[in-house]
């Protein structure tokens, strides 16, 4: 939806102010309220749905498949599908690539190993964005986090040692005995190492407006932003991928009217074009994320605990 010059000017000025004034009166590091549900798809190993207050909705299903002789890199496959957007357009490609590399770099693949040399689980993480108004990365990331949190894998009952003779994995029929992917037990079973639980990674998109950094930007905030930052969070630390993107055109999906509208802003001296950022601002975003992300993780963990046991 294109904005009028007056709206753009108002948004830009109030967001640039110190302290920043967001249209919905949020703090710069405050997320919009989300509505989450887990384990609602019986045919998957784990699933989640997230809805935001602006009508954005995303569902994620995680399915595990036994694969033979695959390389470690192939054990996670993330596929993001966005309603109304072609599969091969830049936005879903970008989201899939960002999330896949992030999850691969944070997971200990021993969690997915079944036998020592041949078999492993491959996780297919499929996200479907049903509707979105702002850049959908936050939405998809939160939903994937919750889906991974409640993902359970069946218990292996055959031997894990297939170094000497071939062993085809056989699983326990009892779903009560299944192991949580994020729990410590599964890692201890598979690799004999210590039982360490895993917190799935998150990735945030932040908008830079003037000298202010805003988390979870809405569509209005994005359209007046200088640029967007993508930052990952795993194991209590900021992590790659760290990227600068152009949020104002949200992955190259601007409609022609929107574009010409924005251009007419420029004519009137309202500067919309992104003009780069400074190192100081990126470091500011870094410390903002360091303070905010643990709270987000804690909030999501609480949701996951509440929902636990809701399976089937």
């Amino acid at each position: 939806m294109p904005f009028s010059p007056a709206e753009i000017d108002y948004l830009r000025k109030s967001l640039q102010a110190t302290p920043t004034i967001r249209p919905d009166a949020r703090e710069p590091n405050q997320f919009r309220p989300v509505d989450a549900a887990q384990n609602f798809l019986p045919a998957t190993n784990g699933s989640a749905r997230i809805r935001t207050s602006d009508g954005g909705e995303c569902i994620v299903g995680v399915k595990a498949k036994v694969v033979k002789n695959s390389s470690v890199d192939e054990l996670i496959a993330v596929e993001v599908d966005i309603d109304d957007i072609r599969d091969d357009s830049p936005l879903p490609k970008l989201l899939s690539a960002v999330l896949q590399t992030l999850i691969l770099s944070s997971i200990d693949t021993n969690r997915l190993r079944l036998t020592r040399s041949n078999y492993a689980f491959k996780l297919h993480i499929d996200a479907l964005v049903l509707s979105h108004t702002s850049f959908p990365l936050n939405l998809v990331s939160l939903a994937i986090f919750l889906a991974l949190k409640c993902t359970r894998l069946p218990l292996l009952v055959s031997s894990a040692n297939d170094e000497e003779h071939e062993e085809v994995p056989v699983f326990s029929d009892d779903w009560e005995e299944s192991l949580a992917l994020c729990g410590g037990e599964i890692l201890a079973n598979n690799s004999g190492s210590e039982a360490i639980s895993w917190t799935p990674p998150l990735v945030f998109s932040l908008a830079v407006v003037g000298n202010n950094i805003l988390v979870d930007p809405t569509h209005e905030e994005e359209s007046v932003s200088d640029l967007g930052l993508i930052m990952g969070w795993c194991n209590g630390q900021v992590c790659a991928p760290l990227r600068i993107i152009d949020l104002a055109s949200a992955g190259g999906n601007v409609s022609p009217e929107q574009l010409s509208q924005q251009q007419s802003m420029l004519e009137q001296g309202i500067d919309l074009n992104m003009k780069g950022t400074s190192r100081k601002l990126i470091m500011k975003a870094y410390s903002l994320l360091t303070n905010t992300a643990p709270e987000v993780v804690a909030a999501l963990d609480a949701t996951a605990d509440e929902e636990d046991g809701a399976l089937f």
Binding site: P241, L242, I244, D246, M274, K275
Partner: protein, 262 residues
């Protein structure tokens, strides 16, 4: 500049041949960005063009524009970036020398070009687009498009170094085109080991952090960033910025020399 509507092939084109390929392993010094060669104005029928060599990397960037745009009215120019990795540039050197017959080579090239390159090309194009856009005064060119096409003739094993070279080369081509710009964009790449940082790395990362950052060196602005590979501490962030800025400055220095000569 006569014909702004069509892209004609260069009049002095020669076929590209592959010979004398030998795999080489050279220990890289941490502060050495490698040898650079930049030449602008290499393509006659384009508005601006540049050729850049950075060790094994060879890149040509061509700028066409401002070109009139049909059908759509805009009050400022639209930038399009198209990156092409030539199929041969994608096979790594060892496997290239292992391939014996020419049919095998063709097959190899075909498979390499379809599987790896399409998403890489899209990623690189969008990165270069984000990096270049802030430097161009697009408001000065209403109703037009600016098309930048980048051909990677030979790439290094490290994608980030190749991307850094592509950004710098496109920056030089823009400067050569005479389009109104606020600054020239150059980029630097870095690979962080546990204890040392390699500027302009030539090997692919295994699990280390590697990244490319684009700068407008004169106005001290960061215009693009792409970092991958695990957790990044605050100190490492600072180090990435320090090293990439150093490399971007060095390339900028070379570019100044080249542009002043003309």
């Amino acid at each position: 500049m006569t014909d702004r509507r069509r892209v004609l092939g260069p009049a002095d084109a020669v076929p590209f041949t592959l010979d004398n390929i030998k795999p080489t392993e050279v220990e890289q010094k941490s502060l050495d960005i490698g040898s650079i060669f930049v030449k602008t104005g290499v393509v006659e029928n384009a508005n601006g063009s540049a050729y850049l060599e950075l060790d094994d990397i060879k890149i040509v960037a061509i700028v066409h524009g401002p070109r009139p745009m049909r059908g759509l009215f805009t009050t400022s120019a639209i930038l399009n970036v198209d990156t092409k990795f030539l199929p041969v540039s994608l096979c790594d050197i060892e496997s290239k020398s292992a391939v014996v017959s020419s049919t095998q080579l063709t097959q190899y090239i075909r498979s390499a070009s379809t599987t790896q390159s399409s998403s890489l090309q899209k990623n690189v194009s969008s990165y270069v687009h984000t990096s270049l856009l802030p430097s161009i005064l697009v408001e000065k060119y209403p109703k037009s498009t600016i098309d930048v096409s980048i051909s990677v003739l030979s790439s290094s094993n490290n994608t980030k170094t190749t991307v850094a070279a592509a950004v710098s080369c496109a920056g030089a081509a823009l400067a050569d085109s005479g389009l109104e710009c606020t600054d020239i964009v150059t980029a630097g790449s870095v690979l962080l080991d546990e204890n040392k940082a390699t500027v302009s790395p030539s090997r692919a990362p295994t699990s280390e952090i590697d990244g490319v950052v684009s700068y407008m060196a004169a106005s001290k602005k960061i215009v693009g960033m792409w970092i991958e590979g695990g957790n990044v501490s605050e100190k490492q962030m600072e180090e990435i910025f320090d090293k990439t800025e150093e490399m971007a400055r060095e390339i900028r220095g070379v570019m100044h020399g080249v542009l002043l000569e003309q």
